[in-house]
């Protein structure tokens, strides 16, 4: 349709475009610029070229943030997808009980990260936590899960999986419901067992869903912050200092805006890469 007056689109899109420019695009450019300066938010910024990037690499901070983030993302993506798929397969039945269990699992995705973090902080407490007590009762070797640098990152990953498994379950359930029943019936008539039906019918048709779930959970786990801030503050011995937490720490604890901005720029480039991956997965979904 033609606009009734030529300039109508301008006021319709005006608020959107102004907000986009002021709160998205200018800040992005500003971050790129700040990454070349040394600035403590109080005194005048000082131009230092690529020193911030060099310092981040030389001090090992960038490498450390990258490795913690990657380890956590890998555990979270694999864990939440496997669990989400298994739950979707088990709960794809029309009983009331299944519906109840689905709601219980998805509710964790709806409550806040802070709630989930506090909840598990108590459950995992080294002295009096319920999980610790359970381990002792079952004679499973236990440790201070959040206080041990070897286990803290995995404990946070586990909590994150608990939080977002419902999300991948819901998407897998939607995918499962799109698969025509006739395909299963045909496979059954050909003598295919349950496992063969999964391998030959379910999984090939779920792959596009899996690609989508995988890339979105990857992006979610890259942006993890709340559980770290509430549960471990990046510790013990920086073992849970993931990317976003490192950025936060540089700004608000060290007052190094330039250093933080350099981390932001690297983080943004990583997100761009992940999104490219997502688009690629989507294209495959279109082709499938």
């Amino acid at each position: 349709m033609r606009p009734s007056r030529r300039l109508d689109p301008l006021w319709m899109l005006g608020p959107t475009l102004v907000l986009l420019v002021v709160f998205f695009f200018v800040p992005l450019l500003q971050a790129a610029k700040s990454s070349l300066y040394e600035w403590d938010l109080l005194t005048e910024p000082r131009y230092v070229g690529l020193d911030n990037y060099r310092a981040l690499i030389d001090s090992g901070e960038l490498g450390h943030a990258l490795s913690t983030t990657l380890i956590m993302s890998a555990v979270v993506v694999v864990g939440s997808m496997t669990l989400g798929l298994a739950l979707a397969l088990a709960l794809n039945r029309p009983t009331r009980f299944a519906a109840f269990v689905r709601s219980a699992i998805f509710s964790a995705y709806v409550v806040s990260w802070v709630s989930v973090a506090l909840l598990w902080l108590w459950v995992l407490d080294a002295d009096a936590g319920a999980f610790t007590a359970l381990c002792r009762a079952l004679h499973i070797p236990t440790t201070n899960w959040l206080g041990n640098p070897k286990s803290a990152l995995y404990a946070l990953s586990g909590v994150t999986i608990w939080k977002i498994a419902g999300y991948s379950m819901v998407l897998f359930l939607a995918g499962l419901q799109d698969i025509p029943r006739s395909l299963y019936e045909a496979a059954s008539l050909d003598g295919a067992g349950a496992w063969q039906r999964f391998v030959n019918v379910t999984w090939p048709l779920l792959r596009p869903t899996a690609a989508f779930v995988g890339t979105t959970s990857l992006i979610i786990s890259f942006q993890v912050f709340d559980v770290v801030r509430v549960m471990t503050q990046g510790g013990p011995v920086r073992s849970t200092s993931v990317f976003v937490y490192a950025i936060y720490e540089q700004v608000f604890l060290n007052l190094r805006v330039g250093r933080a901005s350099a981390l932001v720029v690297v983080f943004f480039v990583l997100l761009l890469g992940l999104t490219a991956l997502q688009l690629w997965a989507w294209r495959k979904k279109g082709a499938a």
């Binding site: 349709m1 033609r2 606009p3 109508d8 689109p9 006021w11 319709m12 899109l13 959107t16 475009l17 986009l20 002021v22 709160f23 695009f25 800040p27 992005l28 971050a31 700040s34 088990a90 039945r93 009980f97 109840f100 269990v101 709601s103 219980a104 998805f106 509710s107 995705y109 409550v111 806040s112 990260w113 802070v114 709630s115 506090l118 909840l119 108590w122 459950v123 002295d127 009096a128 936590g129 007590a133 608990w162 999300y167 939607a174 019936e185 059954s188 349950a194 039906r197 869903t209 912050f225 709340d226 801030r229 509430v230 976003v244 936060y248 700004v251 805006v257 933080a260 983080f267 999104t275």
Partner: protein, 279 residues
């Protein structure tokens, strides 16, 4: 096909085994909540003496009283609700005309405008908070509700959703309204807005819950009690060196998670739709 075959097709594993497994699964997700609730009704001596006792000795409300005494809970609650409501409503108000122009009107630069909107999906809060903080500090808006609401005024997801929904509205309807002398403003908010109600309700709930739960942005944008939100206040319970006072932290956590769970219980269908829509 015989009925026996149909059943084996639907359930490859026997119902009994599946139900036992599902009970275990339900326990993994529900027990932590029940544990939180149970702890919140305990007293300090109880927690010290028998921290893992499944039930409190009575419905002791001391922990809740302690939470109320340690923070201006009503104000945090109010701030959080105003912020989440403000963001969700602003997003819808801004996205409706934008979605209308992007789906119904032909003009030069439409594709570019749409691309710009979608591109913001690449710029999450964690990427933009430092410069936005500096900008807001310059105009003196740090520690105001504006700092919490305005930077989220445009939602790429919402704009996209509304644009998609408007595409299926026939042009003739809008043309008829124009013939009747309705202004564009009236068409957008008075005619199309109500027509899109299911989409808008889903999006509203999604956005409201998301921002009600948000921790990151209020954390970096506020230092003042006057504008602090509930997730921040409750997380502070833990930071103030509570030691073993877990009953107080859990009482706070009950107050924080109950509203979200209540919304979920009432509007589960809408929230699920919003998540499935995102895919």
């Amino acid at each position: 096909m015989s009925s026996r075959e149909t059943r084996t097709l639907r359930h490859p594993v026997s119902d009994g085994v599946v139900n036992v497994l599902l009970c275990l699964v339900a326990a993994v997700w529900l027990l932590p909540y029940l544990w939180m609730l149970s702890t919140s009704f305990k007293t300090l001596p109880e927690i010290v003496r028998a921290p893992t006792a499944p039930l409190p000795s009575g419905l002791e409300l001391g922990a809740y009283r302690a939470v109320l005494e340690s923070m201006p809970l009503a104000r945090y609650f109010w701030n959080t609700t105003v912020m989440a409501l403000g963001i969700a409503l602003l997003q819808i108000a801004v996205a409706l005309p934008a979605g209308y122009a992007l789906s119904k009107l032909k003009f030069a630069g439409r594709g570019a405008a749409f691309a710009l909107v979608v591109a913001t999906l690449l710029i999450p809060a964690q990427v933009r908070f430092v410069p936005v903080f500096a900008l807001l500090a310059e105009v003196g808006w740090v520690n105001t509700m504006t700092a919490l609401i305005l930077p989220f005024g445009v939602s790429a997801f919402g704009t996209f959703l509304i644009r998609q929904a408007l595409m299926s509205v026939p042009d003739s309807l809008i043309e008829a309204a124009r013939m009747d002398g309705a202004s564009e403003l009236r068409i957008i908010y008075g005619l199309l807005g109500p027509m899109l109600k299911p989409t808008l309700v889903s999006f509203f709930l999604f956005s409201f819950v998301y921002h009600w739960n948000d921790y990151f942005w209020p954390l970096v944008m506020t230092t003042d009690d006057a504008v602090r939100t509930l997730p921040l206040g409750i997380a502070l319970l833990r930071e103030q060196g509570t030691g073993v006072r877990w009953h107080i932290v859990m009482a706070g956590n009950v107050l924080l998670s109950a509203p979200a769970l209540a919304v979920f219980a009432v509007a589960q269908k809408h929230l699920l739709r919003a998540v499935a829509n995102k895919a």
